[in-house]
């Protein structure tokens, strides 16, 4: 059955509080999920009193500041700090988003930071995304053709054809959507999830691709595709304003259309 409670070894204990440095003027409490697999202990919630005056405006700035000044063992992923690499996705005040594009000012009350929900945790805010990436690989996210490419140029596509894939191709694979999807929580072993399905859709509607039928065949499955119940959490949280729920609905529509 689906699990509605955290397993015993995942229940979160109260952690330590790091008081703000003397002389801090704009203090905000940042509560951060901590888990160290080597310690053998349950995860805990640490509180860092942060002087927001001493660091940049985004949640990622706070994390970097805490790691630099207070606790160097704090572990999280980040790279671009401008919302394009997808590394810093985490659950901030109950919503999956990118730490680097979330201003602390927009958050009410204490700042609460957890790893992406319902994924195995490697350490602190770093989830294990192996399965998520394998699901992306499973939809064969590359151009498949039988017609050889013209010898002297690239394969052509009209402006309207390009516009169809323009948005779906902007996905940064941050996993905010899939890890916000209840269907993915319950059935991620077999349900591909919104991110992989959006990627599949991006190739299904690519005018240059010649494997549309095979791609649809691979998706037509009660679990791979039809676990989506149009709950729309995916579209709500996507930090790039993409619409995986609509892409999934389009795939379902194409599957009906080809039967009649």
């Amino acid at each position: 059955m689906a699990e509605f409670r955290l397993p015993r070894n995942s229940r979160i204990a109260r952690g330590v509080t790091h008081a703000a440095a003397a002389g801090a003027t704009q203090v905000r409490a940042v509560r951060i999920y901590r888990f160290n697999p080597d310690s053998g202990e349950n995860p805990r919630l640490d509180t860092f009193e942060l002087d927001t005056k001493s660091c940049g405006p985004m949640v990622l700035d706070a994390l970097i500041q805490i790691k630099a000044a207070t606790d160097s063992s704090l572990t999280f992923r980040r790279s671009c700090r401008e919302g394009i690499c997808g590394s810093c996705a985490m659950n901030i005040n109950g919503v999956n988003r990118l730490a680097c594009t979330t201003p602390m000012q927009e958050l009410q009350g204490d700042i609460r930071i957890y790893p992406l929900p319902h994924m195995p945790v490697v350490k602190d805010l770093v989830p294990d995304l192996t399965h998520f990436y394998a699901q992306y690989a499973a939809v064969k996210p590359w151009l498949q053709t039988r017609t050889p490419a013209p010898p002297d140029r690239e394969r052509l596509q009209s402006k309207e054809e390009q516009e169809k894939i323009d948005r779906p191709a902007a996905c940064i694979l941050c996993a905010c959507c899939s890890t916000a999807c209840p269907s993915y929580w319950w059935n991620s072993e077999r349900y591909l999830g919104p991110a992989a399905l959006l990627a599949a859709y991006r190739w299904i509607i690519d005018s240059r691709d010649e494997a549309t039928g095979e791609r649809l065949d691979e998706l037509e499955d009660p679990f791979r595709l039809y676990r989506c119940h149009t709950i729309m959490n995916c579209t709500d949280v996507c930090p790039k304003d993409l619409n995986p729920a609509r892409a999934i609905a389009e795939i379902k529509k194409m599957l009906v259309e080809r039967t009649s």
């Binding site: 269907s183 691979e218 009660p222 679990f223």
Partner: protein, 128 residues
Amino acid sequence: MNMRSPLARVLGAGSARQGVHHWWSQRVTSVALVPLSIWFLVSLLSLPSFDHWVVSAWMAQSSSALLLILFVLVAAWHSQLGLQVIVEDYVHAAGARIVTLVAITFAHVLIAAAGVLAVLKVALRSAQ
């Protein structure tokens, strides 16, 4: 210990290549249920009373009996499709899932047949 590669785990036993029929039937039956349930409620409420002989006389009309049978069949079908989704969502052990799905199908066929039989009995008896 599971040493299969991450990709092998995702690919599993491959695509079932079905699901579109289930999904589409669910939509079509819900569309059919809209006029059927409105008709059912409106006809029942516009009866002068709920006395046994009044309702039986209404059911004895061919049009009522026909639409009632359709209502029972479509509602049972729609309910079976919906429960199947819930079981597939939440029952993860393959054995338990398959047994539950078969039991649900049997129960719905039974309910549908019982409903049709009930309508026919009332309709035919009152029509005599």
